[in-house]
């Protein structure tokens, strides 16, 4: 089933709590002007928040219940560059890259609002490239740690839950980023080919002739970025 927008509502929405109550008391839609796809993405992200929340809480319990000392993240994740030991330098760059990609994604969404086909596609490609760069650096970080002897079942630095939590949480997040990159490329290709300018139905394109898929993609991307901020804070900085 698909939905197509009709004429915009004649009355402007009431602001504040009153408007909230009016929307939820109304027929047809609880979130006015929110399409099915966007509503679904929001609810999925709420559910996914609980997944990452549970991962982080489980990690904290593991960290507080283990009897062995927890490794010092600043030392484990330090790189030796030019004779200087730089703590967390790679993670800092990764975080910078991912947050930058959120910026380019926001610009892509902004271009999509004005239906600028080429800038939207290019900015999405740039976002995908930054995302792929993030995953690439994560691969580097994983290989470095594996080389140093960190395994899910133990590591030379201290508590074995350190390696287990690290691989599990960053792996789960990295999977999210990778899936995001794939879908960014798919949507960017659709934008480039002008599929969102025509009123036709193809896969992941509801035939409304608008760029909403870009915005929904953006919601997912910003979410993945936000999750990283928490992982950064709780795993690397703590």
């Amino acid at each position: 089933m698909q939905e197509a927008p009709l004429k915009p509502p004649s009355n402007p929405p009431t602001p504040g709590l009153q408007g909230f109550v009016e929307d939820w008391s109304s027929d047809q839609r609880a979130f006015k002007k929110v399409s099915w796809g966007k509503a679904m993405m929001w609810i999925f992200l709420l559910s996914d928040t609980f997944v990452f929340g549970c991962f982080l809480v489980a990690y904290m319990i593991a960290r507080s219940s283990t009897v062995t000392e927890w490794p010092n993240a600043s030392e484990v994740f330090a790189l030796h560059i030019g004779g200087v030991e730089l703590p967390l330098i790679l993670i800092a760059i990764m975080t910078f890259v991912l947050i930058t990609s959120s910026g380019t994604m926001a610009m892509a969404v902004n271009c999509a609002y004005s239906r600028a086909r080429k800038p939207t596609a290019l900015l999405m490609l740039l976002t995908a490239a930054l995302g792929a760069g993030f995953v690439g650096m994560q691969v580097f970080e994983w290989s470095k740690l594996i080389h140093e002897g960190v395994r899910p079942w133990g590591n030379p630095f201290g508590a074995e839950q350190f390696g287990a939590s690290f691989f599990m949480i960053t792996g789960f997040h990295g999977t999210h980023v990778s899936i995001g990159v794939i879908f960014l490329l798919i949507v960017a290709r659709k934008v480039w080919k002008g599929e969102f300018d025509r009123d036709e139905r193809t896969w992941m394109c509801s035939g409304k002739g608008d760029y909403e898929a870009v915005e929904i993609m953006g919601l997912y991307w910003h979410f993945v970025d936000l999750v990283w901020v928490f992982i950064f804070a709780f795993f690397y900085l703590w």
Binding site: D27, A39, S47, I61, M168
Partner: protein, 591 residues
């Protein structure tokens, strides 16, 4: 239906979303097998769930045979017994009840009751079923795996769940169980997102949230809860899978097994219990809330009366849903917890009894002075109320720390949760099938077989679980292969155990009559016609019964009133359908 031209009705707000038909099936395969029609998906879901539920039923028979007549059946070894217990519990809670209520009734009733043509994303909805089927197949595969299925108990507590002393612990049983759960959660999420968005964003004109039948409210709230509770199980399953496969120690403390020190160390088994019950307790209400909603509708239709306190019923559902997320540790009083936490969780547990009691009172007040038709759905609904009250009251016992500690892990607990989330929701499922079968097939279920089925099931369920409370009170622990004659038990329970087993076998056999009825009536049942129960809700008002692809013919229904205009004074008939624009009737206002 409205006489007014469809799009110019002044009583209703204009359509916000264009009415587009869902994609048509082009071949036999896409029509009957890879169907994207929620109604077919519902039947596929229910059929699969009932099939795996039969496996769960047979497992309970085998378990009861051992408990009732210990030492007689050689093939029931202690290992096999634990495998039966585990798989019975997991199958019934997750793969039967959750799947039937949300995947089955949710898929069938939500689009019809809110006046939509289908779920919002039919393709994703179809994927949901096929992943669920895959999860069931993986679960079934564990029966044929070397070492058999896991025997860890349905709660899968570590460390024992993945150690070699537990059946399937060192082999593939536990792995297949966890993989199956992960698949189930992925599949359910796809369906659940659909149900929630359909209720929120795809209602027809005039259908406000406060005009929704309580069935939709129950399923909707349960689905939201499932989307927030299943993540905890997903995480717990992934972590335990890593503990088992990669040798991580998330849940595994340092231990010695058969004189050998294992490589695990430093993990927290309690962490698993917290994650499991953060899912597990909402799960109780994920099963109960759809039952609450459906039973409210059954009572209203068959007592020809509006649901008493509709708005309070809605808020009670929402309140129970919210509260159920902060009571989980009452399953863990004996696991080791700070006494203040015990106090907190006992308090929240008792508070949740308040909205639940409101619902029970409102069901009884709905019956009060109603024009009660003792039809089969009504009988099952009444059966639900008494069973649920019974199970709920023992829940108050177990919610208190000091009462729970001696009763914990006895058969009393088994009796409690079977009453409250086994028998009671199954009563509703059965009543709902008797109620909506005419809609799905166009024929009524056979009355004689139905009455036989009801009375055996209802009386039999009490025969099973009432004595079981007593068995627990005198001290029989749950999950014991054989109790023997321990010194602490002064009262013998062999006779009662044998009695319970005979009752369980009888009730199980009566379900075969029901299944035969489902088959027989689809061919020979009385033709129902449209709206045989004279109900007001939209699902009975489709132009063709059973509803066809797209549900509504050319025009979507327009809704002018709430779902419960029964026996209105002065009205020509004792019900006014939701699409009747007639004289203004009392409706629930905003929120």
């Amino acid at each position: 239906m409205a006489d007014l031209p469809h799009d110019t009705d002044p009583q209703l707000p204009p359509a916000e979303v264009a009415d587009v038909m869902p994609p048509h099936a082009h071949s036999w395969w896409s029509h009957y097998v890879f169907s994207q029609d929620a109604k077919y998906i519902a039947i596929q879901y229910s059929g699969t769930a009932i099939a795996i539920g039969l496996v769960g039923l047979v497992l309970s028979w085998l378990m009861r045979l051992q408990l009732g007549f210990p030492g007689i059946f050689d093939f029931i070894t202690p290992d096999a017994y634990y495998q039966f217990i585990t798989m019975h519990g997991m199958i019934m809670v997750v793969y039967l009840l959750t799947a039937v209520f949300l995947g089955g009734f949710g898929n069938y009733l939500i689009p019809l009751m809110v006046g939509a043509r289908d779920m919002v994303f039919p393709f994703v909805n179809m994927l949901s079923f096929w992943i669920y089927l895959l999860a069931v197949l993986v679960l079934v595969a564990s029966f044929f795996a070397p070492g058999g299925p896991t025997g860890a108990g349905w709660t899968l507590y570590p460390p024992q769940a993945i150690l070699s002393g537990t059946p399937g612990g060192a082999q593939s049983g536990i792995i297949l169980m966890l993989v199956s759960l992960i698949l189930f959660i992925i599949g359910f999420t796809m369906g659940g997102l659909n149900y929630v968005v359909t209720v929120l964003q795809a209602r027809t004109r005039g259908m406000t949230m406060m005009r929704l039948p309580l069935t939709v409210w129950g399923i909707f709230t349960a689905t939201v809860m499932a989307l927030l509770a299943f993540p905890a199980l997903l995480v717990a399953a992934i972590m335990m899978l890593f503990d088992r496969l990669l040798g991580t120690s998330f849940f595994m403390p340092a231990l010695v097994e058969l004189g050998e020190t294992l490589s695990y160390g430093g993990g927290s088994p309690i962490a698993f219990q917290h994650l499991f019950w953060f899912f597990g307790h909402p799960e109780v209400y994920i099963v109960a809330l759809p039952a609450f909603g459906i039973v409210s509708d059954l009572l209203a239709v068959h007592a020809r009366k509006n649901v008493f306190g509709y708005r309070m019923m809605v808020w009670a559902i929402v309140g129970i849903g919210a509260l159920s997320f902060i009571v989980w540790a009452h399953h863990m009083y004996v696991s080791g917890m700070h006494p203040y936490f015990g106090f907190f969780f006992a308090t929240t547990t008792l508070i949740i009894a308040v909205p639940t009691a409101i619902k029970v009172y409102n069901w009884v007040l709905t019956l009060w002075k109603g024009d009660i038709h003792l039809t089969l759905p009504m009988l099952f609904a009444l059966g639900f109320i008494v069973t649920f009250v019974n199970g709920g009251l023992t829940g108050l016992f177990l919610g208190n720390v000091v009462v729970d500690v001696p009763l914990s892990d006895t058969m009393f607990v088994v009796a409690h949760f079977h009453m409250v989330m086994g028998v009671a929701p199954i009563m509703v499922i059965l009543g709902a099938i008797y109620h909506w079968y005419p809609l799905m097939t166009g024929r009524m279920l056979n009355q004689a077989m139905g009455h036989f089925h009801f009375w055996i099931t209802f009386i039999g369920a009490y025969a099973i679980f009432f004595p079981m409370h007593y068995v627990g009170l005198v001290g029989v622990p749950r999950r014991y292969y054989e109790i023997g004659e321990p010194a602490f038990m002064t009262t013998p329970v062999e006779g009662l155990n044998a009695f319970i087993t005979v009752a369980a076998l009888t009730v199980g056999a009566a379900q075969m009559v029901f299944l035969f009825n489902l088959y027989w009536s689809s061919r020979h049942g009385r033709v129902a016609g449209s709206n045989p129960w004279k109900a007001t809700t939209l699902e009975w008002l489709t132009p063709v019964v059973p509803p066809e692809h797209g549900n509504w013919g050319d025009d979507l229904p327009l809704v002018y009133r709430w779902a419960y205009d029964y026996s209105l004074p002065g009205a020509p008939e004792d019900y006014i359908v939701q699409t009747d624009p007639g004289p203004k009737a009392p409706t629930a206002g905003p929120l």
